[in-house]
């Protein structure tokens, strides 16, 4: 297989953007990514785009062709990937495979979601489709409720506390202060998080990621041609993905995401490194408990110790492992289809030393972890400075 690198990335601001349309967001992130990669449209050979729910949220399907059209890249083949909140990560993996296979030299990968066009209730119902519509949503489950059921078991089995959950949000808000693309750039205190209204016990408002609009694009190139375009490409040294039951009731345990564990094991094997080597990780913190599960399932901390590690500051910027330097889904925002690609952009800029005040010192290895639904899809990528 050919080795694959990221040569550039582009983001729109994440947040509530009534003034900009779905297609304009795609075009903005795409143009920025092309500029960052120092390539032209004619260099691109194929497009993969992640988007979860444009049909439900906007009445717009056929997003693959729409992306190609808006970027002025017709007649390139353009394919939409859907895996709920992991749509972006799955699209990224498709782009990587397309180059690794030898089929293409340069590929664009995008992710986009426009979620504030409808009411919060309608957006929540659309997101509910990431779970099991017939056996979870039908019976009164919401997404926060599913993660709350996991949190409850984690607290029971390992003594994880509500404060430890809240501290994930406090840390991610602190990181987002330094990210110009983030939805929430104001710090929050533990007291604010603990006193917020309950959404689904034990999860409160600040334990939940927001509803967001946003788009992200990365340009991938075969590593043997990457330096023709940019001086500092970042190589993708692992790409892994795993599936699990759509419904929580089909899982062996509620205190691990098995799909994450399996994808992580595979990814570290491909990368020939261990979790200890990773300097920064963008993990899927759709809820604070999801960050605790992630840092355990990815192997950064032993099972059951994620809460304590967070409390001890081991996941803060420039600590044991810098987790969610972008602010994560919680504070940078979570336009679901864009998230997996945005994580790759953050890893790229960190490894290139372009992350400004949130820069991880001497970052050599970065990891991104994108989850679909309550854990039925997990995608893990590992990146290295070339």
């Amino acid at each position: 297989m050919r080795k694959v690198s990221i040569i550039g990335g582009g983001l729109t601001h994440f947040g509530e953007h009534w003034e900009i349309s779905f297609r304009e967001m795609v075009a903005e992130a795409g143009a920025k990514a092309l500029h960052d990669s120092k390539i032209e449209g004619k260099d691109i050979q194929a497009i993969y785009g992640g988007c979860m729910a444009s049909g439900r949220l906007l009445g717009q399907e056929h997003v693959g062709a729409l992306i190609a059209d808006q970027l002025g890249l017709n007649p390139l083949p353009s394919t939409r990937c859907e895996a709920a909140c992991a749509s972006g990560g799955v699209a990224l993996r498709q782009g990587i495979q397309a180059i690794a296979s030898g089929m293409y030299d340069v590929v664009a990968v995008g992710g986009v979601e426009k979620m504030t066009e409808v009411s919060v209730e309608e957006a929540s119902l659309a997101l509910g489709g990431a779970g099991d519509q017939e056996w979870e949503l039908f019976n009164g489950a919401t997404f926060p409720a599913l993660y709350a059921l996991m949190a409850k078991r984690h607290m029971l089995e390992y003594g994880t506390t509500e404060e430890q959950l809240a501290l994930c949000a406090v840390k991610n808000h602190a990181n987002a202060v330094h990210n110009e693309y983030a939805q929430f750039r104001s710090p929050i205190t533990l007291e604010q998080a603990m006193n917020a209204s309950v959404i689904a016990s034990p999860l409160k408002l600040f334990d939940c990621s927001p509803i967001s609009d946003g788009a992200a694009v990365v340009i991938l190139a075969a590593s043997d041609v990457a330096k023709k375009f940019v001086d500092e490409p970042v190589e993708v040294i692992a790409s892994a993905q795993a599936s699990d039951s759509l419904a929580l009731t089909g899982r062996e345990t509620l205190t691990s995401l098995k799909a994450t564990q399996i994808a992580a094991k595979d990814a570290f094997k491909q990368a020939k490194i261990t979790p200890k080597d990773v300097d920064l990780a963008e993990v899927h913190d759709c809820f604070t408990i999801a960050e605790i599960l992630a840092i355990e399932d990815l192997g950064f901390f032993p099972k059951g110790k994620g809460g304590k590690a967070t409390e001890d500051g081991e996941t803060a910027l420039n600590s044991t492992v810098s987790v969610n330097t972008s602010g994560g889904l919680k504070a940078c925002g979570h336009p679901v289809g864009a998230t997996g690609v945005k994580q790759a952009v953050e890893c790229l800029w960190q490894l290139q030393g372009k992350a400004g005040q949130r820069q991880v010192k001497d970052a050599e290895y970065a990891l991104s972890h994108n989850v679909g639904g309550s854990g039925a899809t997990a995608v893990v990528h590992i990146y290295k400075k070339l």
Binding site: W135, N139, G140, L149, S201
Partner: protein, 133 residues
């Protein structure tokens, strides 16, 4: 969509009576029903089987922000119930006082209205669970 009439009608045996599946090859029970046994795949022999209607609370949450169709019920308890055959079921917990809702609490299935599609639309019925004193 969850309020589609064919879907509600098709699932009546499962939702009204906890009718699941049993694999005669590996002896595993499944709920909801499956067409293929994930352990045995082509060697599996799935037949209908009634699930036990009593179990224990495995995990629970109190939902304060409910989805459309459930908003008038908030806050309500949602739980994962573990049945004696190790099958897990996600369900609302009803008719149970707050101090009795605990992990490990014994529960039994009850038949209830799940939601209604507006004042004149379809009413979906099915199982919920309640804590047994």
């Amino acid at each position: 969509m969850r309020d589609a009439l064919p879907l509600i009608w098709r699932k009546i045996p499962e939702r009204y009576t906890l009718l699941g599946s049993h694999c005669n090859n590996c002896k595993t029970d499944y709920f909801p029903q499956r067409t293929i046994c994930p352990h045995c795949r082509s060697k599996g022999k799935l037949v209908d089987k009634q699930m036990p209607r009593e179990g224990k609370v495995y995990s629970f949450t109190e939902v304060h922000s409910g989805p459309a169709g459930f908003q008038h019920e908030t806050p309500y308890f949602l739980a994962i119930i573990e049945l004696p055959n190790k099958v897990k079921v996600l369900s609302q917990l009803v008719d149970s006082s707050k101090d009795k809702v605990k992990v490990g609490a014994p529960v039994k299935m009850v038949f209830r209205r799940i939601f209604a599609d507006g004042a004149e639309g379809v009413i979906a019925y099915g199982f919920k669970f309640k804590v047994v004193n």
